[in-house]
Symmetry: none
Subunit: 227 residues, 4 copies
C-alpha cells in the first residue's frame, strides 16, 4: 500500500536569485567543514545547517537529501580535476617537469577537496551512485597515467608493465596518499608534511615507476624473476 505519488516537483525549482545562490554555497561550504570534522556518515543535516548559520529546513530548499548534497560537492571536485590537466605540449617538451607539475596539482587539489575524498572513501563502495562518480573521476586520471606508461614503453622503458593496471595502482597511490597525508590522522607522528617534501616524494616514486630519467638505461624485461 503506497501513498499517492505527487507528480509535481518536490523542491519548487530554486530560481537562481542572488541570495539563493549565496545560501546554496554557504551550505556546501558548511557541509565540507562538518564532514572534515565529523566524517561523512556522522555529518548531520542539522549540523550542516547550523554551521551555515541557517535553519534545518533551508537545507531542503537546495538539496533533496544528503546524497544530493554530496553529488553537488563531487561535481565541483571533478570539474577542478578536469581543469587541472597540463597541456599535452608541456608533456612532450619536458616530461619530467610536466609530471611533477601534475603531481603538485594533485597534491593541492586533494588538499582542497579533502572532505569530498573522505566522503568517497566512507560511502563510495556502498553507494552505487557515488561509486559511479568516483569511477568517472578515477577513469580520467588512470587514462592519463596509462597513456604516459605506453609512451615510455614505445621508448623501450616500463617493460613488462600492464599499462592499465599499473595506472590504476599509481592513481590509487596518489589518491589515497594525498588524502592520508592531508588528513594528518593515520600516519604522521611529526605533524603536517611540507608541500615540497610531499611532492618530491610522490615524484620520486612516480618518476621511478615511469623510468623518467633519461640518463639511466631502461630496466630489463619483465622484472619478476622467479615466482
Amino acid at each position: 500500500m503506497t501513498t499517492v505519488t505527487p507528480p509535481r516537483p518536490r523542491r519548487p525549482a530554486v530560481t537562481p536569485g542572488r541570495k539563493a545562490e549565496a545560501t546554496r554555497q554557504a551550505l556546501l561550504e558548511a557541509a565540507r567543514v562538518v564532514i572534515a570534522r565529523d566524517g561523512f556518515a556522522n555529518a548531520r543535516i542539522a549540523d550542516i545547517a547550523r554551521q551555515a548559520g541557517k535553519s534545518v529546513g533551508v537545507f531542503y530548499t537546495y538539496f533533496d537529501d544528503k546524497p544530493a548534497l554530496f553529488a553537488a560537492l563531487l561535481e565541483t571536485f571533478h570539474a577542478d580535476l578536469v581543469a587541472l590537466t597540463p597541456s599535452p605540449p608541456a608533456y612532450e617538451e619536458d616530461t619530467a617537469a610536466a609530471v611533477r607539475s601534475a603531481l603538485a596539482g594533485f597534491w593541492s587539489t586533494y588538499r582542497r577537496f579533502h572532505p569530498e575524498m573522505l566522503g568517497l572513501l566512507e560511502t563510495g563502495l556502498a553507494d552505487p551512485a557515488v561509486l559511479e562518480v568516483w569511477r568517472k573521476i578515477r577513469r580520467r586520471g588512470i587514462r592519463r597515467f596509462a597513456f604516459r606508461i605506453r609512451k615510455q614503453q614505445e621508448k623501450g622503458r616500463c617493460r613488462g608493465l600492464d599499462a592499465e593496471l599499473a595506472a590504476s595502482a599509481l592513481h590509487g597511490m596518489l589518491e589515497f596518499t594525498c588524502f592520508n597525508w592531508h588528513s594528518g590522522r593515520l600516519d604522521q607522528p611529526e605533524g603536517p608534511i611540507a608541500d615540497e617534501l610531499a611532492v618530491d616524494t610522490l615524484y620520486g616514486l612516480v618518476a621511478r615507476v615511469l623510468e623518467l630519467d633519461d640518463t639511466t638505461p631502461p630496466l630489463p624485461g619483465p622484472p619478476a624473476p622467479l615466482r
Copy 2:
C-alpha cells in the same frame, strides 16, 4: 557508527565451551559476509545474526556492541599480517624474491580480509578507536618498507627518497590497490584480475621504486629536476 568503547566488564564470562566458540565464530564470519555485501555502515546487527542463523539477542552474548565486533575482526586481521612476515635471512639472500613473496602475501591477505578493509575505509577516519588499530596495522608495513628503502640507500640506491614518507605512500598504494582490485567495483571493466598479473604489476611498481634490479646503475640524486 562505531565509537570508542570504554572497556567495561560485562558479559558474564562466557566460558568458551565448544558450542560457544562455534557461535562466536559463526557471528564473525556472518559479519564478514554481510559487510562485504552491504558495506560496514549498512550492515545491521539483525542482518548479521540472521546470516549466522542465530537470533539477534545472542549477538550481545559474544560482543559488547558493533564496534567490539569490528575490533574482534581487526584483531584477527592484524594477527594474520604479523604471521605473514618473511624471515629476515630470506631478504638478504634474494631481496627481489623476498619482496615478491611479501607482495603475494599482501595480495592474498587483503583478499581474505576484504570486509575488514572496507570497514577501515568506511569508519577508520571518523572513529578514533578504529583509527588506532589501523595505525598499528600500517605502522608494521611501513616500518618494513622504510627499512628496505634505507637498506637500498646504503647501497647508493633510492637516492633522495624520504624513507618514511615513501614507505607510507607505497603501503598506501598496496593497501588501497589490493582492496580496490579485490572489490571489483571501482575500476575493472573486464572482470576480476588474475592473481599472477596483479602481483606482477605490484612487483613491477615496487621493484622500480626500490631499484631492486642490480644490473642497472643506481638512479642519480634527487630526481626532482626543477621545481
Copy 3:
C-alpha cells in the same frame, strides 16, 4: 544520487509467535480507536503505539507504515463483508426478508468498521492503493444490487433503471448513510439512532427502489416524464 537499496527484507519476517500475533492485534485495535477519535489523517503512529501500550518502534515490527496498517484493517473489513452474504436460496424464498436481513448486516458491519470507513473517505480518493481496495469492496456490493435489480426487471419491475448505475447509487447511499448515522457527527441532533429504526428506514428506501412489494402493480416505463 540514491543510497544503496538493501536487497534484504526491511522487516525481519515476523514469525507468527503467540506474543507477536497478540501485539499485532493490539496495534490494529489501537489504530481503530485512535482513528475513530482523531480521524485517519490525524492518527499519529506514536498515538497508536501508546494506545496499544507499546513503544513507537514496535509498530514497525508489524507494519511498514501507516498505509500498510490501513491495508491490514481493510482486509478484515472486506473479509467480513464477504462473510456477510446471505445464501442465494434465501433470496428466492423470501426476497423481502433476505434484503432486509442483508441491510441489517450492512448496518451492523458498518458500525463495527467505522474507523475503516472513515479512513476510506479521508484518503480513498487521493491514494491509489486505498482506492483499489475500496473499489474491490464496492464492486461486490454493487454486483449484488445490480443482480437484484435485473431480477426484478425480469418480473417487469424496476423499469427504466440502469441496473449498474442504480446499484452504484444504492450502495453509495448505504455506505455513506450507515457511516454517517454511526458517526453521530453530521446530522442527528437527537442522539444515536435505534438499530431497528435505521434498518427500517433503509429498507423502506431500498424496497421502494426495488419495487419489492408484490401487492402493488409495477411502476410504468421510464419514470422521467419530461426533461
Copy 4:
C-alpha cells in the same frame, strides 16, 4: 490538517481593489484545481500559489491559513446551493418535474463543486469547523426532502417512512453519488457518465422512494414485513 481558527483580526484590511480581488479569485480557483488533482490533504499552499502563478507569500495576504481558504470555498458552495432552490409554486404545479429539475441542479452543482466536496469528505469528520459548515449545507437539502416526504405522506404515500431519516439517507445518496460519479475514480470502468443518464437514474431512485407516480396506488404500511 485544518482546525478551528479563532477569528483574529489580522491582514491589514485588504481594500478590495480590482487587482486584489483578481488575485484572490485566482488563488481560490487554483486551489480548486490542485485539490481536484491531488486531494485536499495533499494540496500544498506552495502548489496552489504556483498554480495561480503567484508567490507563496501572497497567499497570506488574502487568507489567514489553509482552513480559511477552504472556508471561503465552502461559502461559495453554500451560496450556490441556496440560489439553486426552485420556487415552491413549481413544486405544487408539477412535483415530478420540479423534483427532476432539482436533481439536475444537484448533479451540475456537485460537478462544479467537486473539489469542495472532496475537501468535505477528507476533512469534514475530523475538523469541527468544517463539520459545522457541512451540517449547514446538508440541513438545507434534508429539510427540503423531509418536507416533500411529509407532503407525500399527507397524500397517503411514503407510509412508514421516518421523514427526517429518509431525507438524510436520500441526501447522502445524492451527495455521495454525484461526487463519486463526477470523480470518475471509484466505479465507472467505462468512462464518464452522460448527464442525462445520471439524472435519469437518480430521478428513478428518488421518484420511487417518494412514490411520485400518481397512476400507481400508494404502497401499503410499514414495508418491513418481518424482523
